[in-house]
């Protein structure tokens, strides 16, 4: 009797677990797509009069297929991930720390042995749309094929043609270093089945042509959600929280929904366009970390019409509020070093600030020489986690190519974790709405990859 009771109890427990697991999987599987918020009907491109794909009308030299290919490659930001810092473009090898181990981007130059020189068009399209290599192996979704799947075949092949026109580089990427079971590529087939819609872009006639172009750029080429949308346990994007902000590559990718207080709802169109195109907007701060790369390799090459289209589209997603961000941004700090909010914070923070930071940022936070150094109003200093402030201190902001005068040096080599925690706490207290309370340990973790 007892045994039977026991068995049924176990069975019940298993039942609950199974049902729970199924529920979770279903919850994930039924996770809305990135454009589920659009209620108006969508149609195939062939049934749509506009031209949301390809390259924009204002792209100079657009008749040249290589110009088109280069533009799309930039819009898809391929170079950022497929190049090591200081390495040969597109030769791969860049490391990506994930919770499951380290991945390395492959070589996508035309070298036949170590790159993709021998891939056919169909193979390339399959990789980009479905995350499947010519040898049938599955790609990890660090490669954002769930976004690229929206791209038209034409656009994908234009990219391929452009890559083929570049110098081949013979260079093998290091082998991935993943823990079991994540080193089992076949598992990604399951992941894809759930999370890759494997669908080309569809237009929404009810919206403007500009909006549709913006959607193609933001959701497909630009794959913005890959960083700005939080992920679920299975590393798929949780579009219920679309663009509400997440942590990517150790940096916080902030809320880019139109929420007025914690998103970009209060930003003017000019601010948004400038931030995307130049990596910087007056009184909004400068793009750093992965966003800096997105600007460097991608966004700053886009035409004004495309930047405008992205802004239009971003404005239309549902506003979501981030509860962990203060609802207002702090104004300028006082001009006197001993005024303001930071008096109670670790004296070491002030010592470092007055040594290494104030020359550019000023005691007010408004910058001494150029607005590029303005801290006031930037999201990073108004983020009580202090994460991006620490990251930017550790690794700086590299100059954009051709603009060598705008950058921030890195201080990670010269200052200890405790000192960086102190100065980050000081900076958020002095210039932000709410001070961070970082410890040396937290800085150490960020230093080691987040």
């Amino acid at each position: 009797m007892k045994a039977q009771q026991g068995i049924s109890a176990v069975a019940a427990l298993i039942g609950v677990i199974v049902i729970g697991a199924v529920a979770i999987v279903l919850w994930y599987a039924m996770s809305p797509g990135p454009m589920a918020f659009v209620t108006a009907p969508r149609v195939k491109l062939s049934e749509y009069a506009g031209a949301p794909t390809g390259v924009p009308a204002d792209l100079p030299g657009r008749d040249d297929p290589l110009v088109r290919g280069r533009y799309l490659t930039q819009a898809a930001d391929c170079e950022a991930c497929h190049t090591t810092p200081g390495g040969k473009p597109f030769a791969g090898g860049r490391a990506f720390a994930t919770p499951f181990g380290t991945l390395y981007s492959p070589n996508i130059t035309s070298d036949p042995e170590t790159g993709i020189g021998h891939w056919t068009d169909a193979q390339f399209i399959k990789a980009v749309h479905k995350g499947v290599r010519p040898d049938g192996a599955r790609l990890y979704p660090a490669f954002p094929y769930a976004s690229y799947t929206y791209l038209t075949d034409d656009d994908v092949l234009a990219i391929k043609q452009y890559l083929a026109s570049l110098p081949a580089v013979r260079q093998n990427a290091p082998a991935n270093d993943l823990a079991f079971p994540f080193d089992q590529r076949w598992l990604m087939a399951l992941w894809s089945a759930f999370f890759n819609p494997d669908q080309r872009f569809r237009a929404t006639p009810a919206h403007s042509p500009e909006w549709n172009r913006g959607a193609y750029l933001v959701e497909g080429l630009g794959h913005c959600g890959e960083c700005h949308t939080p992920r679920n346990l299975l590393q798929a994007l949780d579009n219920r929280q679309k663009f509400a902000g997440a942590v990517a590559d150790g940096w916080r990718a902030y809320n880019i929904t139109p929420d007025k207080s914690t998103g970009v709802g209060a930003w003017s169109d000019v601010d948004l366009a400038s931030y995307l195109a130049a990596g910087h907007a007056k009184e909004r701060g400068a793009a750093a970390g992965p966003m800096r790369e997105a600007v460097e390799f991608g966004l700053r090459h886009l035409t004004p019409s495309d930047i405008g289209a992205m802004v239009t589209y971003l404005r239309s997603v549902p506003p979501l509020s981030s509860s962990n961000l203060p609802s207002r941004l702090a104004g300028p700090a006082p001009a006197a070093y001993d005024g303001g909010n930071a008096a109670h914070v670790d004296a070491r923070g002030r010592m470092i600030f007055e040594s290494a930071c104030v020359s550019c940022h000023a005691w007010t936070g408004e910058g001494t020489a150029t607005s590029y150094a303005t801290l006031t109003g930037s999201r990073a200093v108004n983020d009580p986690s202090g994460r991006n402030v620490v990251q930017v201190i550790l690794s700086g902001v590299p100059p954009l190519r051709g603009q060598p005068d705008v950058f921030m040096p890195s201080f990670g080599h010269a200052y200890t974790d405790a000192e960086i925690a102190a100065v980050a706490n000081y900076v958020t207290a002095r210039f932000g709405a709410e001070a961070s309370t970082l410890s040396a340990n937290q800085v150490a973790r960020l230093r080691n990859g987040g």
Binding site: Y337, S355, A356, C360, A369, A373, P409
Partner: protein, 151 residues
């Protein structure tokens, strides 16, 4: 061709607007008292005054200067704070190699003009952006205090 107001004079500068003021001063106008030390606002050797405030000229593009008045070490004796600082510097024999000292004197003068009797904390706040590789900090601190007393 840009027009700048330097040490009370209008000067035309033939250089692109993104040229930092430091290099316009040194290489175009021949005002070499302002020194190059790092180029990234980390050492203070290039400090000048822009409307009386100490600014690192190595990160200030001439295109961003506008109408504001630039004062360099060559004309700092035109201000009373500047003269006091220079005198204290010599009286206390602050200087060693001297390379950082144009910048030190510009920072100290701006401090003294704004804060006539600076505390140690005031001095730290105003002077810690200026590196002296010869290590003259002890005397710089004393000299600022002495200049303040002379006030």
């Amino acid at each position: 061709m840009l027009e700048l107001t330097i040490n009370g004079e209008k000067r035309s500068v033939d250089a692109s607007p993104d040229t930092p003021l430091l290099w316009a001063l040194r290489d175009v106008l021949g005002l070499t008292g302002t020194k190059f030390g790092c180029g990234i606002a980390q050492c203070g050797a290039c400090t000048v005054h822009v409307d009386g405030k100490a600014v690192r000229s190595c990160v200030l593009p001439i295109g961003a200067v506008g109408e504001r008045a630039v004062t360099t070490i060559e004309a700092i004796d035109g201000t009373s704070a500047g003269r006091k600082i220079q005198k204290a510097w010599l009286d206390l024999e602050v200087i060693q190699c001297g390379y950082c000292q144009s910048g030190q004197i510009m920072s100290a003068t701006a401090l003294l003009a704004a804060t006539p009797s600076p505390s140690d904390a005031d001095i730290d706040a105003a002077m810690s952006g200026n590196i002296c590789r010869c290590g003259t900090y002890v005397r710089i601190r004393e000299a600022i205090k002495q200049a303040a007393k002379a006030g």
